[in-house]
């Protein structure tokens, strides 16, 4: 049976630095939960608190309703895949995988059987007698996964497990991890700073920033309906239009743009995804339910299946448009154009000037 995990008000401080700040999160049984965020955002510390390597300053941690805050790591019955694999160099692959079984006093015959099954799961059937140093990075990574799943732990924790591999291998291993998750049905908690990885793998993503969770939800929700400017900018590309917010809308480049909903405070940021923006002839008037802004095309990038246009708004801020092949406009670099988008496709958020600082 896969387990549920509940974090309630978890906080970890080092002297006066708050690494994890009042984090609450419920992870459902069998769920693939990704903790996503830039380095130093508290995601790895949170994972280490779940694993038991770091003791929280305050807050509660329960698995299946039972508190494990006081349980030492070796009794938590969780599997962990480390960023640098942490394979034991003096043991063969089979001995590495048998290690957790020995700790659990699994009989020898049963051990061999489970090791073989785990190796088969990661497609490394013939590698049992090799030493870790004789394997490639990708193979070592799969051994690390096999070692963490062989004892059927109630939760599998992964700390940037693909961070040390090159792009091509990473893409393939992402699919492998997804397959293993589907096969085992275990609860996975996965830490990464790579948004694409998070989008490919996760059932739900928790976006971390400065020790706090900014937003939790399925990938589509985070992408389409970000709750903070940080989430909008961290996941995917977007155009951000800043200006004062009033009852009628947001003032950008001396125009009043229509928005849905409202925000607390005066400074607003209107976020539009590049594929939601369209380029029209200069002077084009917005239809009802649409917004329009004049802009200058500053550059174009041809990407095969799509084209990216870089634009500049009258106030100097940049905008980004993605056009699918087959639906390309005639705009070229240097052209004066009108940018339009449906009001429903934009999201109004409070402006946080520090969202930029974190990303750059």
């Amino acid at each position: 049976m896969p387990s549920s995990i509940q974090l309630t008000g978890l906080t970890k401080t080092y002297h006066d630095f708050v690494a994890v700040d009042d984090v609450s999160l419920t992870i459902e049984p069998g769920e693939f939960m990704t903790l996503l965020g830039p380095s130093g955002s508290g995601k790895t510390t949170t994972l280490n608190i779940i694993a038991g390597f770091v003791r929280q300053t305050s807050g509660e941690l329960t698995v299946d309703g039972t508190s494990i805050s006081a349980t030492p790591p070796h009794r938590r019955d969780m599997g962990m895949v480390f960023q640098h694999y942490a394979l034991f160099p003096h043991m063969t692959v089979a001995e590495n995988i048998a290690f957790p079984l020995k700790q659990r006093k699994v009989p020898k015959a049963k051990r061999a059987e489970l090791v073989a099954a785990a190796l088969a799961t990661v497609h490394l059937g013939d590698f049992g007698h090799r030493y870790p140093r004789e394997l490639s990075g990708g193979q070592q990574q799969r051994v690390a996964v096999a070692r963490a799943i062989v004892y059927n732990p109630r939760v599998l924790l992964m700390d940037e497990p693909l961070g040390a591999l090159d792009k091509k291998l990473r893409d393939w291993l992402q699919l492998e991890i997804k397959r293993i998750h589907a096969e085992l049905g275990t609860t996975f908690v996965y830490v990464t700073h790579d948004q694409d990885e998070a989008l490919v793998l996760s059932d739900r993503i928790a976006v971390f920033n400065k020790g706090r969770i900014e937003q939790v939800g399925p990938a589509a929700e985070l992408y389409e309906r970000p709750k903070t400017l940080f989430v909008a900018k961290f996941l995917g590309e977007s155009t951000v239009l800043r200006g004062p917010v009033s009852g009628q809308g947001i003032g950008v480049c001396a125009r009043l743009l229509d928005v849905r909903g409202g925000i607390d405070g005066k400074d607003g940021a209107l976020v539009v995804r590049p594929e939601r923006l369209a380029v029209r002839k200069p002077g084009h008037e917005a239809e009802p339910g649409w917004n329009a802004l004049p802009a200058t095309v500053t550059g174009e990038i041809y990407l095969g299946s799509s084209r990216k246009l870089e634009l500049k708004l009258p106030d100097g801020s940049p905008a980004l448009v993605r056009e699918q092949a087959g639906g390309l406009s005639e705009a070229r670099a240097g052209d004066e154009v009108t940018l339009t988008w449906r009001v429903a496709d934009s999201v109004l958020l409070p402006d946080e000037s520090d969202a930029e600082a974190v990303l750059t």
Binding site: R75, M80, F82, H84, F88, P89, P100
Partner: protein, 275 residues
Amino acid sequence: MKERTAGPALLLLPALIALGVFFLYPLGSMLVSAFTDPEPGLRNFAWFFGEQANMQVLGRTFSTALWVTLVALALSYPYAYAMTIVGARARAILTLLVLVPFWTSLMVRTFAWVILLQDTGVINKALGALGMGPFSLIRTQTGVVIGMVQLLMPFMVLPLYAVMSGIDRRLLPAATSLGAHPVTAFVKVYVPLSLPGVSAGCLTVFISALGFYVTPALLGSPTDALISQQIFTQVNGLLKWGRGGAMGVVLLGLTLAMIALLGLTLRRTGKKVTG
């Protein structure tokens, strides 16, 4: 190409000649005297292996070297481990402390131990203040071991540290995440990985301890002499060149055997970890 290889080879000559005259020739003459003095034959070896007293000397030499090695290991292992987990500044201090005996003259240190260990010395006074002792430390095997361990610590700590600093410390949390108790994790993962350093350190210390002369001569009891002291006595005191030579041959043979063993274990453990 010939011109390029002959020149550098000639550079070896002065050192080789010096070694030939002042190292190989002396060793050879000792070897010869062992078999020829006072007359050709194996009489000197028969004397050495035939006398109970000599076997006791050999046993005592071995047990002293073994004790020195074990005590040095027991002290150095945690010390070297600490060196790997502290910050740069603390590590510099620990390294400096270990190198102090290395740079202090052997004679000075041995002299200091004579003062410290004497029956009315600092150590006995301190123990007396705690309600213990007095123990006779000087002119006992204990005293010899205490002095020699301090002298040989660097040779244990440095190889241990070299190996330990190469061990990936993240393996320990990895082992506990797999269900191993922290102590089990240390014993099953860290200790095996540190073994090359342990064997290198132990054999170096053991070999050095076998041949020590000054420290046992000054800290030990004349009646419990080690083999080095006996060699000294035979040659310098009794002018029995043959007997001294035979003992020298035995000591040299033992040392070489230990070095061969060291090479063998290093090659084996080296293979297991790297190749």
